[in-house]
């Protein structure tokens, strides 16, 4: 095995001087991704590095919009017989992709056919679990992974007389801190939350070891029922609704829409992905820090690991695809998982490393001393033990489930229904979708 590093580009420079016709004959690998802005630049950089490191194939990265847009585009392209070789798919699309049968080539199969070894154990457990089959074989390759954390505005904390070095650790402390922030008029909005469904329900379930859905959150089969209308969830949502009523919480939209509220210094506490670090560092004109997600010790005194968010890479099939192309895909995936590439991706973007070697390399490079707090998401991801409630989710049509949660929460925020009613209705609507999904993939 040749060891490929990021510097390989320089080492193999003579290849670039080969006659042009040799390049023209190279199979092209199309890689669709959903990384915009600075993240997209990083993807381009990785691909350039890969192209320079070998002479067999050439990969072209293509930005396809948001995650759902990329999913839609990939499906449409598959139906038209023009699927890309490699597509980046968000974690909640995993259930749908696993049911896609001949549309995808799972990683274990790709590895077998091409002889390019992609070792599942090279990936960090909490990340790998989300994307592998029950027997441990990889279905897709982990790529950009983050977890959610609590970001807070140190200036606002100071102004309110709160200790900026002691962020609230429990939800009760969060409520108290928000009241103080409000009373002292330290900031306009004490608290907001991006990715409401992911952070306030999915993460909450994992860390407190309570089932989000039956059958180990769907890992054990299709006949799964949603469970997130049980007492702990209802209590948590009513707490947030109460905070909204007293003005300490502001609901500012779906998915990442609330993020600017924190970055602009309008909100003191914000829950979102750990990968928001780069954007916050660029935009925030105040002192900020990240902390563990708060928990409810009366439900679980020893909180579990949090789950990941982010996306993985799926190899897709299309008519007329050659073994050389598949081999190119496999070596690209191997390249992305190499410690140097993984560590640099992690350090440049704020996503966590997905391989153990990438993490260890970052430690060795002294990255966590240089930029304190950047290992916080990794610590939260590897905290406690992984149970069947904290392994992740394997539910069909999960993006749609999240939208249902948003809709019901939005109604509750307006006072049209209580927490119990909102979650009951989300669960029953969600179960209908799961039954539909079950029928459509069985048929």
């Amino acid at each position: 095995m040749k060891r490929r590093t990021l510097l390989a580009g320089a080492a193999v420079a003579p290849f670039a001087a080969r006659p042009v016709f040799a390049q023209a004959a190279k199979p092209k690998i199309v890689f669709w991704h959903a990384m915009s802005g600075a993240l997209g630049e990083e993807v381009n950089r990785i691909c350039t590095g890969f192209n320079a490191s070998q002479a067999e194939v050439e990969v072209t990265p293509v930005f396809k919009g948001t995650y759902p847009e990329t999913l839609t585009a990939a499906i449409a392209a598959f139906r038209a017989g023009q699927a890309p070789h490699l597509v980046q798919m968000f974690e909640v699309g995993t259930g749908s992709m696993l049911a896609a049968g001949p549309a995808v080539k799972q990683i274990w199969q790709l590895s077998q056919e091409t002889g390019v070894v992609i070792e599942p154990n090279a990936y960090i457990g909490g990340v790998r679990g989300y994307y592998s089959l029950s027997d441990g074989r990889l279905a897709s390759c982990p790529f950009n992974s983050s977890t959610s954390v609590m970001w807070y505005n140190l200036d606002a904390f100071e102004k309110a007389g709160l200790d900026p070095d002691k962020p609230p650790r429990t939800w009760n402390e969060v409520v108290d801190a928000c009241r103080i922030l409000q009373a002292k008029k330290a900031i306009e909005v004490p608290m907001t939350s991006a990715w409401f469904a992911w952070v306030q329900l999915e993460q909450y379930a994992a860390m407190h070891d309570i089932p989000f859905a039956t059958k180990a959150n769907g890992f054990e089969g299709l006949e799964t029922e949603l469970k997130f209308n049980t007492a702990p969830f209802v209590k948590h949502l009513s707490r947030i609704l109460d905070m909204a009523k007293e003005g300490t919480f502001k609901y500012a939209g779906r998915d990442g829409a609330p993020e600017p509220l924190f970055n602009s210094g309008t909100a003191a506490i914000s829950f979102t992905s750990s990968a928001a670090r780069a954007a916050i560092a660029r935009e925030a004109k105040f002192k900020w820090a990240a902390a563990f997600l708060p928990t409810d010790p009366d439900i679980n005194p020893q909180p579990n690991n949090s789950i990941i968010g982010g996306a993985s890479l799926w190899c897709m099939n299309a008519p007329g695809r050659t073994p050389a192309e598949y081999k190119g895909v496999a070596s690209l995936l191997k390249f992305i998982a190499s410690p140097e590439v993984d560590a640099q991706w992690h350090q440049n973007t704020g996503y966590v490393p997905v391989t153990t070697a990438g993490y260890e390399l970052s430690i060795k490079q002294g990255y966590y001393q240089k930029v304190p707090g950047t290992d916080l998401p990794i610590k939260q991801l590897s905290r406690g033990r992984v149970t069947e409630n904290s392994k992740g989710f394997r539910l069909g049509r999960m993006p749609e489930l999240r939208n249902i949660v948003y809709e019901e929460v939005e109604k509750a925020i307006q006072g049209q229904q209580g927490a119990q009613a909102a979650l009951d209705s989300a669960v029953s609507r969600g179960n209908r979708i799961l039954r539909e999904f079950e029928k459509s993939v069985r048929g």
């Binding site: 759902p68 049968g101 049509r397 939005e410 459509s440 993939v441």
Partner: protein
């Protein structure tokens, strides 16, 4: 052979992009498919019964009617009022007309951007005024305000279209009729009610249908840019739902069934319209 050759391009396009897809929609509405199109099963009327048993779909129908009705009424009333005054003999009437006609060219999605700048909870110029008046303005979390915003943005764009037609309608009323009414002593409001409005009836009816169809089908871009159908489902019209279920959620069976329902609705509207216009022409 020549006439066939002349009409052929039109017929081919019609077949491939209208009739064939419409047939496919009807067929798909009787099936259940997975998103990747690997498994397809025939399920009879299940998609339709599911739709009409789904209270959310029925709600969405009601919402579409309320939305389209409001847009139609607002856009037509404002346009009629402007047209009545623009029809008067005043100085600079041609300039006024020009200044009232150009919004016809504004794309629905772009009119949404204009309204974002006015009413967006954070950046809206007008939102600050409202907040100073003590009104908690945030259409992202308030259903009524969200509906109000999409109605205003959709109606705004349609006013100039209606204005053009009302003005043309007014100008086609013979001066002699108006003069006669004036001689009879009919003034202002009474003249409007008894003479002008009845004579405008064909235009009004035509515009009613056109506006209704516009607001039901062509406002997707406006709603998508402003609210994406939220908060909750407060601004999810049938078109938004077809898009959501078909393109985002990839539930092709159900979204095809919804397309078929919409097709039936629009065919009914067109038939009513052409019946009425034919009768008018025959008279």
């Amino acid at each position: 052979m020549l006439p066939v050759a002349l009409v052929l391009p039109q017929l081919l396009l019609t077949f491939f992009f209208f009739l064939w897809p419409a047939g496919q929609a009807v067929w798909a509405s009787f099936t259940r498919q997975d998103p990747f199109g690997i498994r397809t099963q025939f399920v009879g009327f299940e998609n339709f019964t599911d739709l009409f048993e789904d209270p959310l779909y029925v709600e969405s129908m009601g919402r579409t009617v309320v939305f389209s009705g409001s847009v139609t009424v607002v856009a037509m009333l404002v346009a009629l009022c402007l047209a009545l005054f623009a029809d008067r003999e005043i100085r600079g009437r041609n300039i006024y007309r020009t200044l009232l006609i150009w919004p016809y060219a504004v794309a629905p999605a772009i009119s949404a951007v204009l309204w974002i700048l006015l009413l967006h909870p954070q950046i809206g110029a007008f939102s600050h005024v409202l907040r100073m008046l003590g009104i908690g303005w945030d259409y992202k979390i308030n259903s009524t305000q969200a509906m109000l915003v999409v109605v205003l943005a959709s109606a705004w764009k349609q006013v100039s279209y209606n204005f053009i037609f009302f003005l043309a309608g007014l100008q086609s009323i013979p001066r002699s009729v108006i003069e006669a009414a004036r001689m009879d002593g009919a003034r202002g409001w009474r003249r409007l009610r008894t003479i002008t409005l009845p004579l405008l009836a064909p235009t009004t009816f035509f515009l009613l249908i056109v506006n209704f169809v516009y607001s039901a089908f062509d406002t997707f871009g406006t709603i998508q840019a402003l609210t994406q159908g939220g908060p909750g489902k407060a601004t999810e019209t049938l078109m938004v739902k077809v898009y959501r279920d078909g393109v985002v959620n990839l539930n092709l069976g159900s979204s095809s069934a919804q397309s078929v329902v919409l097709m039936v609705a629009i065919i009914a509207l067109t038939v009513v319209q052409s019946r009425f216009l034919n009768r008018k022409n025959a008279e």
